[in-house]
């Protein structure tokens, strides 16, 4: 860990100017070095790790009924046998929390990766092309940004019967424009920089400039948006399920557990509401915290 400390300042002992990445390994070391020293980022990562363990390893240790309806056990308060109680179908809440979290986390990571790849490439290509092509490509992005993601999500979810895969595809389709705009703006400014012009003068192909210079130099941007995308898509799925428009049962996620939240509160079953609410908030908060910390690091590095 400490051995690469000397490499941080670069071969000449000078940090690269303006957040520019001199070579791949060097730049990543600088960035991740700052990340390792950020309490918020490290804390966020720790919480995410715990959540992953809870959702994916938890069910191996804590075995409970998370599918079969058992009305004899319905609405049991937290106590022996059911640490967090049971819901109105007699399903163990702790067990459901773990299983529900699996789909939320899988969705979050999948959407973040897919939308970042699509958005970053689209934005970089659009920015490099410039001119009429860029203007046309950006109006497509503007159109998708003009209609709130959540509204489009609701429309499509009422047209088709959803599954986890279709929701991942849908959210990817709706999330990439956000990454795209930021990456394009960065590419537009990179295009005029000396090292890119030098590369062009030396006869680099557009492909080489795209993958060798543009993509690595926008890394700081899309790592931040990717983290926010995890939080946003987990939230979007839970809101959709909360409104009763998510994938049909037996699909479980934290939002579905809250669909009857208002009624549960009035009927005196608060334990059916709070656990899912708390895990959901912790998850979204952890990813936002990481994103925020990475954003601070990235912007501090670019103004350094």
């Amino acid at each position: 860990m400490q051995s690469d400390g000397a490499a941080v300042a670069g071969p000449l002992g000078i940090a690269p100017e303006g957040g520019e990445v001199t070579s791949r390994t060097d730049g990543k070391n600088l960035f991740w070095d700052d990340v390792r020293h950020s309490k918020r980022a490290v804390g966020g990562f720790a919480v995410v790790l715990l959540l992953v363990l809870f959702c994916f390893v938890g069910p191996l240790i804590y075995r409970a009924n998370t599918i079969a309806v058992n009305l004899n056990n319905a609405n049991l308060p937290p106590g022996s046998g059911h640490p967090l109680g049971t819901d109105e179908y007699g399903i163990d809440i702790l067990g459901r929390l773990m299983v529900g979290g699996q789909s939320s986390l899988e969705l979050g990571f999948a959407v973040a990766i897919a939308s970042t790849v699509i958005g970053a490439l689209y934005g970089a290509i659009s920015g490099m092309l410039g001119g009429v092509a860029d203007a046309f490509l950006m109006r497509i992005v503007d159109t998708l940004l003009a209609v709130p993601t959540f509204i489009l999500l609701i429309i499509v979810s009422s047209m088709f019967v959803l599954s986890l895969t279709t929701i991942i595809l849908l959210l990817t389709l709706l999330s990439w424009p956000y990454v795209c705009r930021l990456v394009r703006a960065q590419v537009l400014s990179l295009r005029t920089r000396e090292f890119v012009q030098a590369s062009t003068a030396m006869g680099s192909t557009r492909m080489r400039i795209l993958f060798r210079h543009m993509v690595p130099n926008t890394f700081n941007i899309f790592i931040v948006t990717a983290t926010f995308a995890v939080a946003d898509s987990i939230y979007a799925l839970s809101a959709l399920s909360f409104l009763g428009l998510g994938p049909p049962p037996p699909f479980a996620d934290w939002g579905t557990m809250l669909t009857d939240g208002v009624n549960d509160l009035f009927d005196g079953y608060p334990w059916e509401v709070y656990p899912a609410l708390i895990v959901l908030v912790i998850t979204v908060l952890a990813f936002r915290q990481i994103g925020d910390a990475l954003n601070d690091i990235a912007s501090a590095r670019s103004t350094r």
Binding site: P148, V273, L277
Partner: protein, 317 residues
């Protein structure tokens, strides 16, 4: 400035055409035929053919798109499958109610958020700033329905102070105020979601302005801190908030769907949600078009207002 205006309006028109193409595509994505959806699954082929002929559904797609644009521009968004009324009527009834709800909550959010942001900027880097920032960050990150559920748990279930359900049968905008008690929770939930954004933008904008020379000059000539804040700082630091107001419209709309669904508030959000549950596509697509146009208009207005209010902004290019 003129060239900037022309360019910006041109872009907005292009985006609005884009939104129309998008809703048109969505109309045709709908599984099964429109005729069957309207006439029922047992409709005879002859009736379906007649329906398709009447509504131009058997014409080539470009012609259909032209007809669709023609209808939309004449304020015809189709007929709701469920209510049997024109979509434009349903939307026109609800838009003013949303203007009231979203107007009050946004105003409340600004009244709380702006002083909060300035306070944080004044105490920038201290524990006080961290505490306020942390609180808003948590509330902002938490799902919209969390605040709603928690407020209901405290004020409705526990203390029986506020009702969580808007009374039904409201027919006019004035009717919203017959029971002001019922307005409190929806307004507060929507405001909480906006305050976080407003106060954090206000904070960073005020921190930037506080470092400027004119503030130092004002302090050096012995101006009271209160006057520095109101006369010098606020005027300059408020500018970015105008842009944020225009840009936050999509978030406000998404929040409204959830809040209206929870509190049974008779606005566009509730209409949209109920249409989604009932697969009432004409209503959903009509509403989407309106929201899209409102968003584009909001962004444009924010851009123009920014240019007009801040003479330093020179819209070159």
């Amino acid at each position: 400035m003129t060239w900037f205006l022309v360019r910006r309006v041109g872009q907005s028109v292009a985006v609005i055409i884009g939104v129309m193409i998008l809703t048109f595509i969505l109309v045709h994505l709908e599984p099964g035929s429109t005729a069957k959806a309207v006439l029922g699954l047992k409709a005879t082929p002859a009736r379906i053919a007649l329906f398709n002929d009447t509504y131009g559904l058997n014409r080539p797609l470009p012609v259909q798109f032209w007809l669709y644009c023609d209808h939309v521009l004449h304020g015809n968004f189709g007929i709701s499958y469920v209510a049997g009324q024109p979509v434009s009527t349903l939307i026109a009834q609800r838009l003013p109610r949303d203007a009231v709800l979203l107007g009050i909550s946004t105003l409340l959010a600004l009244i709380i958020g702006i002083p909060m942001g300035v306070y944080q900027a004044m105490h920038h880097g201290t524990v006080r700033d961290d505490i306020v920032a942390g609180t808003w960050f948590t509330l902002y990150s938490a799902p919209d329905f969390m605040e709603a559920l928690l407020l209901i748990a405290v004020f409705s279930v526990h203390f029986h102070l506020l009702q969580p359900n808007f009374p039904g049968g409201i027919s006019s905008v004035g009717g919203l105020f017959t029971d002001p008690n019922a307005l409190i929770l929806p307004v507060v939930v929507l405001a909480i979601n906006s305050v976080a954004g407003f106060s954090q933008y206000m904070r960073s904008s005020a921190i930037e302005e506080l470092a400027q020379d004119y503030i130092r000059t004002a302090r050096a000539k012995g101006l009271a801190e209160r006057l520095i804040l109101t006369r010098h700082l606020l005027r300059n630091a408020l500018l970015p908030i105008i842009t944020i107001l225009g840009l936050s419209l999509p978030d406000i709309v998404a929040g409204a769907v959830i809040a209206e669904a929870i509190f049974n508030f008779p606005g566009m959000g509730l209409l949209f949600w109920q249409s989604a549950l009932a697969h009432d596509f004409p209503v959903m697509l009509g509403a989407t078009l309106i929201i899209g146009v409102a968003t584009v208009a909001g962004n444009l207005a924010a851009d123009i207002a920014y240019g007009v209010l801040d003479p330093r902004i020179r819209h070159a290019v």
